[in-house]
Symmetry: D2
Subunit: 343 residues, 4 copies
Amino acid sequence: MALAKILAAGRGPVVCRMASASGARRFYSAGKKQTLGFIGLGQMGFAMASNLFASTVSTHKFVIHDQNAGSLERFVGTAGKNGVSTSSLSIAATPRDVAEQADVVFTMLPAGPHVRGVYEEVVKGLRKDVLCVDCSTIDVATAREVAAWVGEKGARMVDAPVSGGTGAATAGTLTFMVGAASERDVEAARPFLEKMGKNIYHCGLNGTGQAAKICNNMMLGICMVGASETFNLGRRLGLAPSLLNQILNTSSGRSWSTDTYNPVPHLNPNVPASKDYNGGFGVTLMAKDMGLAVTAATATHTPVPLGAAAEQIYKVVAATHGLEGKDFSVVYRWMGGEKEVKK
Amino acid sequence: MALAKILAAGRGPVVCRMASASGARRFYSAGKKQTLGFIGLGQMGFAMASNLFASTVSTHKFVIHDQNAGSLERFVGTAGKNGVSTSSLSIAATPRDVAEQADVVFTMLPAGPHVRGVYEEVVKGLRKDVLCVDCSTIDVATAREVAAWVGEKGARMVDAPVSGGTGAATAGTLTFMVGAASERDVEAARPFLEKMGKNIYHCGLNGTGQAAKICNNMMLGICMVGASETFNLGRRLGLAPSLLNQILNTSSGRSWSTDTYNPVPHLNPNVPASKDYNGGFGVTLMAKDMGLAVTAATATHTPVPLGAAAEQIYKVVAATHGLEGKDFSVVYRWMGGEKEVKK
Amino acid sequence: MALAKILAAGRGPVVCRMASASGARRFYSAGKKQTLGFIGLGQMGFAMASNLFASTVSTHKFVIHDQNAGSLERFVGTAGKNGVSTSSLSIAATPRDVAEQADVVFTMLPAGPHVRGVYEEVVKGLRKDVLCVDCSTIDVATAREVAAWVGEKGARMVDAPVSGGTGAATAGTLTFMVGAASERDVEAARPFLEKMGKNIYHCGLNGTGQAAKICNNMMLGICMVGASETFNLGRRLGLAPSLLNQILNTSSGRSWSTDTYNPVPHLNPNVPASKDYNGGFGVTLMAKDMGLAVTAATATHTPVPLGAAAEQIYKVVAATHGLEGKDFSVVYRWMGGEKEVKK
Amino acid sequence: MALAKILAAGRGPVVCRMASASGARRFYSAGKKQTLGFIGLGQMGFAMASNLFASTVSTHKFVIHDQNAGSLERFVGTAGKNGVSTSSLSIAATPRDVAEQADVVFTMLPAGPHVRGVYEEVVKGLRKDVLCVDCSTIDVATAREVAAWVGEKGARMVDAPVSGGTGAATAGTLTFMVGAASERDVEAARPFLEKMGKNIYHCGLNGTGQAAKICNNMMLGICMVGASETFNLGRRLGLAPSLLNQILNTSSGRSWSTDTYNPVPHLNPNVPASKDYNGGFGVTLMAKDMGLAVTAATATHTPVPLGAAAEQIYKVVAATHGLEGKDFSVVYRWMGGEKEVKK
């Protein structure tokens, strides 16, 4: 409705439906400006696209798509509220439509099947040399398969999953782990990635960006369960969590899960554990990422005993009533870390 | 034999056998100097006692005991070679003998049953107010039981297990985790602990030093297995270990096991992994410490799923031909981390 | 109160308090009848003692003790109701009191510390050659230690833990796993054990009865978790549990946990799973037995990766609100086995 | 070479290369006899095809394919040696060639990618109503996808993985677990399956045969690790394996892995454990099946903590020098079950 009003008023972005796609394309290609496309405006994608749009508004056109019309409206509205001109912003009706207009296509989607579905459409609209940048976290096999589809059209693909969560997405301080067929493709993506993040790692060929992401998150998932066990055991043996944390963090038990993002409430001030486990990185997402890692391990005959055990734990926690919407550090609560210790 | 020679030459330390114990004691108590006793001159104990002896030689007498006569000889010989006067150094024939002479008794023993056995003897010789400092890593229950025995004699006990390994023991930079009935007991031990280490944490009542130690080592043991899985998975997915390490260490997968003591050869220059897994902290000791942690967890009804899984792994590694004498980071080799990746 | 009335009426069992113990003993020894003692009338002990008393009432005297006076009253009352003469039944005030009267002492207690506590008292009253039969499930180390105490008094000890649960205890069809110093001790116990059970296995020296018990229960605990995982996975892949069960039970996936005591409701008619997981063998007890097994494994350096993982699971289930009082097969519910499958 | 000779002599089977396929097809269709095709003559497939061929030789034509020419020769030679007429037997050069001739196509292949690859060819040759029976053990998702391909050609597909191993394959006593779109398809396959096995279960829609297979094998894999842990723990606690086995098998710890296929040498006479772990079901295959189960669990968000832990163990065992070619019960040896127990 709000979107309809914007459109009716004629001051909003141009909506390019399929029927008008070629006209729209011609219009854009008439100018000298390159066009950036962004598909997927969920929590992460919205924040990333906002930064990218705001920082390229004077030099690029911007076309967005999401299957949820509400997200598109909100994007337009938020840009306006923030004083960013929306005159170069347009809404595309389909992924194919984005692909037909854009010189660079960004995607940020929930899981492998979504990426597969969107790129089945995208490739129908791709021109030669267009650069596709998929920031979703998905399995390595799908990443490699989709890159092959894009390559068959003469276009280029990089996988560029992120770490850092919604906080870093909003602040523009994400870390990108990039897999690409060539250094040239990475360099083509880099100026845009730098608008959304601060660390950009070229990991190797297509799929290695995903590999780096799931390796990091598997290690993170293991350490967080380990930290939860350790602090719970400590307090039952009579150790104050703050003292135990001081010891671990100056000793060999130190990790990001203890010194920066401790699962025990109030050891770190602004982390989810100190806010009833709200915000942060959802336990359901961690269960998904651990699943990607363990499935990749099975496919490559790699033993990951603790990774596999931790995946099982996150699956159980994600299926536990009342915990499914919490940050993954809620595993400490699930383990009974907040229950009174019987003497 | 060498010891016999030293003794025969009359230039070595006084050996106080049981028969002559009271005479020896009288001799020492005639002076104003306090006497320090040290029982247990294994790898760790030898290094710790050496530092303590060298830094107190001008102010204290020093009496040592070990069931291995060779260690005693070597201690005397090494002190001499290092130019430390051995005139105030004596060898006791039994733990009881040490207890009868010393004002402060240090013990550094392999496991709970040894501590129990030694203190059954020590308490027979203890005088009121003598301070006992057990630096062994043992189970919390034994630590508390032995402290009770000592308390019944009117003497005082602290548990003060260490972290840092033989390197830190030699350098005098150990971390001590101290459990004690009172702040006063900790303060009594502190000046001596400071000769052997640089961090001294008062963790709570008796047994909490042990609790802190096993909590730290359980977390460490989990992280090391996790790091080994992660790097092995990464390389099989096409990631160079050095790049993956750079990513983890600037992201949420960071831990001491990745940034300081990486199990992959040659990511950190001087760690065991870069020296064919020699030196460091033996996998057998890690298996033992994980066992202490898991047993304490069972006794306190604390779930430690990853701790229990990791304990099992170290037990298997410690029983694997060719790996039993290696550093615990050899779990990476055990997992196949050094095998060629099939393409 | 009811007990006081029985006693006041003079028709009830003789109560032998410490003060009158020696007199009571003389009285009994004047007759030819042997005396059986039974300490510990919890759920299991009550049923076992009832069978033993009923089947020996014409040939033996019977003396009972429990720290809960209500259990003692109930025992007397139930025997009367069942038409068993209580004229040869007496109540002892302490474990020592039982030991002073009995020729054979049976104990059935919750855990190792209780056994230790009761036998510290029992040994004060033991005469030479008295046979002690501990039916509790406890750790091997405690079983061996207590047997040594009893041996020091010239008396004899067997450990005889049971399997079969309250159903078998009531029916007199328990299985006894017996550890004893000699075949002669087993034979001395056998006629009495046969009143309470149908299978009696001599496993080896003292402690091996406990070893057999915890080995069986570890295997059982693993299979039950395995069965729960398997049936839950099956139904999510579209398999009817009854069909899957038919397949497993005629194939290599068969086990007691699938063909006799299936955790899926209504595959076996009378098991706890078919009665809202009530009755049976409590998840808390399974957690305890798994703990005994894993602790014994740690002490003997035996890898038990699945045993350790299953122990962790039972600990979490036993700490889950609403499940703590259920049969151990409730692990199927805990895993989400009764939740609707999303298509 | 041997094959060439057979062919040159004109006494062997007709080889239908692609070039001559249509001629060959006409020849066969001229008769009234139905044709059976069999693709995949590995260890299992060879034994199954031999039984199927021998028992249908008078009523059906038989066409075989394998990418290994040696297997084809051996099949022909073995049939001849066993006195089975090879006049109705032909060799096809490609899977497509089999499909073009056969009324029923059987496939028995190592893994999902092989099934995918073979059926990509098969569907090119399929006529309407031909029945395809895939006996391979593969992932549920691939089974469903391939069934859809076959369905698009108007042909029919059932997944019919087996249990029982090479012994049962040779004896014709396999168990088939069948997934099919309709009862009619199962009935069409049944007469042929009965030539190769004795139990045929209709599990549900396409893919459920695979689901039943991996559920059974996951349970089996868990029980075998559990049995290995249990017997190893038992003997270290002083229990003779034969006695422990007697106890388990009359108690609640009973399973197929204890009473029929015990991993301890010489408890069951003819199992691999009693033959240096040779023969049976390879540990590499068990690792593969456990991987299929755990991957299916991840895809359906099903927690399988012990299944995941056991998968890891089989992966490690399968990568252990000297054990990779052994039966999966060799996990007992891997755990140290044959090492002398230190007292």
